[in-house]
Amino acid sequence: MSSLVPDFDVQRVLVTPWTSDATMNGWIVLMGFLVATTCGWVGQYLLLRRMALMGDALSHSILPGLAGAFLIASFLNPGTADGAGNARGATVMYLGALAAALVTTLLIHWLHTASRVKQDAAIGIVFSGLFALGVILITVFADQVDLDADCVLYGEIGTVGFTDYFQLSGRDVAPLPVARMAIVALLTFAWIQLFYKELLVSSFDPGLASSLGIRANWVHGVLMLWLSVVIVSAFESVGAILVVAMLIVPGATASLLSTSLPRIFSLIVLHAAISSLFGLHLALWLDCSIAGAMVVTGCGLFVLAWLSHVIRVRRARHASLPQDAPPGTLASPSVTPNPP
């Protein structure tokens, strides 16, 4: 057991990461922060729409989309589409993910509107069926598809290639994945700023939204497509299942601490920063998966918020309902029945 949890070596856990390995760890923390923030923002809308598990569904059903896209790419020009590293690979990936998201969303919608199967069951059927299909595609066409189901599921932020740099006017700006994630994060931010009220109204009250001329269906569709973009950008660093955590945990934590949407969005940023920084150190200490440790840290923050929420509620309830009757002015004179 003792070999499982290494000693807490201050030098190894806290000092070296920011002296000799500073660049690498800096990029890791930045990447984690960008992923968590972007996912948290988009996920907050999923929470508001009570469809947090659509994130789960999409993150799994993207697999056949990716497999199919790689298959088609290798079919069109054999020998060039080799993985996610180059630009062509990235385009193929995004196209496959968008197609998968579109198919998933439409299928789920169709299943639960055209039959009595409820939405949750429809989600479960569609994503698991598509995921299984994806696994089979990858196994059957292992030669043509440079994709590994394990890598889609797990992902690991430490193994993301931070060597290829995104260059701007001849200077290295940031590693490619980080740059890509930063662009997605910026676009997400801009998108939320631009369509803040449309998203809010259509999440809160689709009926009101349509009476105001906002097409709730379109907003939903765009949200789902954007969700798939965010998931694809994130999954190589955190894996499909941990993306679900990144989508839900920051928003859930923030909504326990505040009820105002703008404040929730800032709390999500704070949550992302804390969980990615502390997560890195936790992973260095325990020598385990960095993405996993970041999510575990995020969950720890959630538990703290949850406890403080429970304590607050308990205290308030204790104060508000004394055991004796309410004030006399409000109490009713009891009327005894007269049997007729």
Binding site: M1, S3, L4, L47, R50, M51, A52, L53, G55, D56, H60, L111, A114, S115, R116, V117, K118, D120, A121, I123, G124, I125, S128, G129, F131, A132, L133, V135, I136, T139, V140, D150, L153, Y154, I241, L242, V244, A245, L247, I248, V249, G251, A252, S255, L256, A283, L286, D287, C288, S289, A291, G292, V295, V296, C299, F302, W306, H309, V310, V313
Partner: protein, 493 residues
């Protein structure tokens, strides 16, 4: 109506047949055995004879899992807890890792205990989050799913660093490996399956009532919460025993998909349970078979794909719920209404010349209905096909048959009765009732017509002063199949 149940009983067999053929072909071609039919046949026979011990274990395991997952999944689907299975299956990961750590080997018992405890803790946490915060069900499920899973991932990566960890094969729990099922795993699945069969038969009525109407169940003194926790415990058992075969990610499909298929095929819970277990069994075996055919294809995904395929068939072709079936029914109804409108026009033409002569020319029909001659000819053909009218030898005019005449006068009577009823009983002015009657005339059953006639004192003219025809009620041949079966039940009294 009376033919439906037997149809419903036949359906699963049909579904399986139609499933086996295309998928077998696909898997066989993927596995490379298609070019060699003898090999394909030989492999099939070898599979069916269950000579390989690995095949025996895999088939037995998949069949047992199919049954227990089908039974429990039924309750998940009707209780709208479909995604709880997904959450629990991810939440057991830290338990699996902890069980492995505790025993330092891949001992099924230690892993089982650890995983069940983790799964149960997961469902309890969902309950706690729901009760103590404003977070909704989906958020609570997602939090538990992802949070527990993250802890599990950390533990697994830590274990893999240990000297004993490399050989652990713990990552196999993600996708499962049906071929590696051992006798210990099989015994576990057997116990779990027997437990779920016992629980669902013995406590059937308690589970039924607490699923259908929890408030009522509590009101008659049933411990609804306890029942729920017991169901969750059984669910954790099932999921953990399924991990070896299909893995964390796909076990939720084995829970939901067969049960949802059954949900589309039947209207009674006990039939749904049996059907779901049967579908689980069949898809389990099919998955094994396909995996055996196509050499190195993984079993779990194949089971799930077969189950999803069956669901798709049920979704499209279920006798009552099927999308295609309902579309065909709607189309048949639309066509019947169109034919009946033509009939009515013919009646109006005949009426306008006080029923002198039987034949109505297509030109007259087209003019009345404000349409082209081609359309009128097509409508005439439809009437002829249904033996409601026949064409005059010259091909240019229509003559109503006895049945056509009967149905036409019924329709006109329905229309005018309804108009009269609306103006009399509902005080709607005479110039507003026509549109409504145009629709109602097609759905009025004889029983309602009798009531209307009684209510209107057998009046013989409608609000516009036209005569209400009296079809010969004595000889009422079925004008056409399906016409007397009303698409809507008669309105409640």
């Amino acid at each position: 109506m009376s033919t439906r149940p037997s149809y419903a009983r036949l359906l699963p067999c049909l579904l399986v047949l139609s499933l086996l053929l295309p998928i077998t072909a696909l898997a066989a071609s993927a596995g490379g055995s298609w070019e060699d039919p003898a090999g394909f046949l030989g492999r099939t026979l070898r599979f069916l004879s269950l000579r390989d011990p690995a095949v025996r274990f895999a088939v037995a395991g998949a069949a047992l899992l199919g049954i227990s997952c089908g039974l429990l999944g039924t309750f998940l689907v009707v209780r709208k807890l479909a995604l709880v299975g997904d959450a629990v299956s991810h939440a057991v990961l830290p338990g699996v890792a902890a069980g492995f750590l505790w025993s330092q080997t891949k001992s099924p018992v230690a892993i089982f205990v650890g995983a069940v405890l983790a799964g149960l803790l997961g469902t309890l946490t969902v309950g706690w989050i729901r009760r103590t915060t404003r977070l909704k069900e989906d958020a609570a499920l997602g939090l538990v799913l992802a949070g527990f899973y993250a802890v599990g991932i950390c533990l697994v990566t830590m274990i893999q660093r240990l000297p004993t960890g490399n050989k652990s094969g713990i990552d196999k729990f993600l996708f499962g490996q049906a071929a590696a099922i051992g006798s210990g795993d099989l015994a576990l699945m057997g116990v779990v399956t027997v437990l779920s069969i016992l629980a669902t038969t013995l406590a059937y009525k308690e589970l039924l009532i607490s699923s259908f109407d929890a408030a009522f169940a509590r009101a008659i003194g049933l411990p609804v919460r306890l029942l729920h926790e017991a169901l969750m415990l059984l669910l954790a058992f099932t999921i953990v025993s399924a991990l070896q075969a299909v893995g964390v990610v796909l076990v939720s499909a084995m829970l939901i998909t067969p049960a949802a298929t059954a949900y589309l095929l039947t209207n009674r819970l006990h039939r749904m349970l049996i059907l779901a277990a049967g579908l689980g069994l069949i898809t389990g075996i099919t998955g094994c078979f396909l995996s055996f055919l196509g050499n190195n294809l993984p079993t779990g995904p194949l089971i799930v794909v077969s189950a999803t395929f069956l669901f798709g068939l049920a979704f499209l072709f279920s006798p009552q719920q099927g999308v295609v079936v309902r579309w065909a029914r709607r189309r048949a109804r639309r066509h019947r209404v169109a034919r009946e409108n033509t009939l009515k026009t013919l009646y109006h033409v005949l009426e306008s010349r006080s029923f002198h002569g039987d034949d109505v020319s297509l030109g007259e029909l087209a003019q009345r209905r404000r349409e082209t001659l081609e359309d009128a000819a097509r409508e005439a053909q439809a009437l002829v096909r249904h033996r409601l009218a026949r064409l005059h030898p010259d091909g240019q005019s229509l003559i109503l048959t006895e049945a056509g005449r009967q149905r036409a006068s019924e329709l006109v009577r329905n229309h005018r009765l309804w108009e009269l009823y609306l103006t009399h009983a509902a005080d709607i002015s005479a110039d507003h009732v026509h549109e409504d009657a145009e629709k109602i005339e097609h759905v009025l059953g004889e029983e309602v017509v009798r009531k209307l006639e009684l209510r209107l004192n057998y009046a013989d003219t409608d609000p516009h002063g036209r005569r209400i025809p009296v079809p010969r009620a004595a000889s009422r041949p079925n004008p056409e199949p399906g016409a007397s079966r009303d698409p809507l039940p008669p309105a409640a009294p």
